[in-house]
Symmetry: C2
DNA sequence: GAGTGGTCTAGACCACTTG
DNA sequence: AAGTGGTCTAGACCACTCT
């Protein structure tokens, strides 16, 4: 028997075959290619196997192969140009959607223990600054939740979240000091599909400074976010004030598409 | 002659037809749909015309139509779910790639007059913090450019950029107080294709504070970016410190993909 | 000129949502 | 049950890059 060094395309095909399950073929191929990059088999600057090679190795149609490569491009993992080989880029570790929205999911993935101290949970008429993003009528009721978020017991962020009344009602009685709000909502059939974010730098006001053990005026990274359900209805609007020394955000952008992620500062 | 109200799909087809030129069909269709949303003909919550309607109205193949809709989804303009109609989302005004990278392009698009005051342009051995993102060998020479960036004459940002020697050489003698570095590089055949960004909040050090007319310690939004050419080679690494009251960044994210944009704060 | 990625067609079946 | 978007195939031609 002859044994020969497997080409990246063949290795990708092997991984696709091994990865059983019901995921679509283009997703399995994308994961396989991601794996080759993660494992250093394909390194920054290397060419990705061409469409033709992937078609030959996997037996998939070219359209399906291109769908997989398009996903990598959107993630900023590879770069494509017409006529030239697709090349692997230096890897900025970006995170999936859930980890940009959920403090709990993000902390766990980063290997830290997430926590929360509830400052306040009240229902009252929404002020204009929260009514607008939540698309509430004037004077409509909203739940407001203020929490100090902890990483391994250390306060790193103050979260001031507002929920439309029917959503907030689902949170009453939930364990807001340990569980994730999104897990709680998911258990009650409310799914989260997308979010808008506005990031800025502000000085800490005295109240926030006290909650975060800072001096007033110290720099905070403010992440104001609105989260939407699958039907586009707003589920939550939150203003998160992070200790400036606690996090940074990563983004990749290109002519083809951008991504954004939050990461701890080292 | 019977005249009837045109369906959104028909209006899209009309715009595709009117938009002459050599852009690919899927791009023309995406632009047409974007236009319907921009003009308020399709409003947040409305359903986008279905694949079938767009195929019928435009005469394109379904694959091409889906390519157009995928672009809108990646931009956060619409949301799709299997089985349900594609719906238009509340519109977060995001910007194309060039405006996230280029101060000049961004300022012009925002209706302000961009400017710059050059503090320093020198060539020296790169320190480790710049050598690493630029993938330079130890002790290799790099050009360092420090500028105060102005919006309508007001200082809003301090830019500390570093360039590999061959790139920086192209900037010597260029008008760095008015033109865009990227325009200068483009005129010399150097194209920019993608960028990585890391966003954080820091307190102003005394030097930066003085350049921006701030007190030391006041909050800054720091955007550290590395810009790459079409072949993935690093062209520039820059640390931009923005006055906290000058800008915010907008991002959209979903299970399908994220984008990021910078916008002035009101 | 050979090879690459970009575009496009014309079908098909399936999973899912909705009335 | 009908209609929607998601997946996939098997072709084809073109624009571009590379050597």
């Amino acid at each position: 028997m002859s044994s020969h060094v497997k080409s990246p395309a063949e290795q990708a095909a092997q991984r696709v075959a091994r990865a059983a399950g019901d995921a679509p073929a283009h997703e399995r191929l994308a994961s396989a290619l991601r794996g080759l990059i993660d494992d250093g088999i394909l390194r920054p600057g290397d060419p990705l196997p061409g469409d033709a090679a992937l078609v030959a190795a996997t037996g998939l149609a070219r359209g399906t192969v291109r769908q997989a490569v398009a996903a990598l491009r959107a993630e900023g993992l590879v770069q494509t140009r017409q006529g030239a080989r697709t090349t692997v880029l230096a890897r900025p570790r970006l995170q999936p959607f859930s980890e940009l929205v959920s403090f709990t999911a993000w902390a766990r993935q980063a290997g830290a223990e997430p926590g929360a101290r509830v400052v306040e949970l009240v229902r009252r008429p929404a002020d204009p600054a929260t009514a607008e993003p939540l698309q509430l009528a004037d004077g409509a009721l909203a739940w407001t939740l203020t929490r100090v978020r902890l990483l391994d017991g250390v306060p790193v962020m103050v979260e001031r979240a507002a929920y439309p009344e029917p959503i907030g009602d689902l949170l009453v009685g939930a364990d807001l000091e340990h569980g994730s709000v999104y897990d709680t909502l998911a258990a009650r059939g409310v799914e989260v599909a997308s979010g808008h974010h506005r990031i800025s730098a502000v000085g800490a006001d005295p109240g926030t400074a006290a909650l975060l053990n800072l001096r007033p005026g110290e720099p905070l990274l403010r992440q104001a976010r609105t989260v939407f359900g699958p039907d586009g209805a707003p589920l939550e609007h939150s203003v998160d004030d992070w200790r400036g020394d606690a996090i940074a955000l990563d983004a990749v952008n290109s002519a083809q598409g951008n991504r954004l992620a939050r990461r701890p500062r080292g």
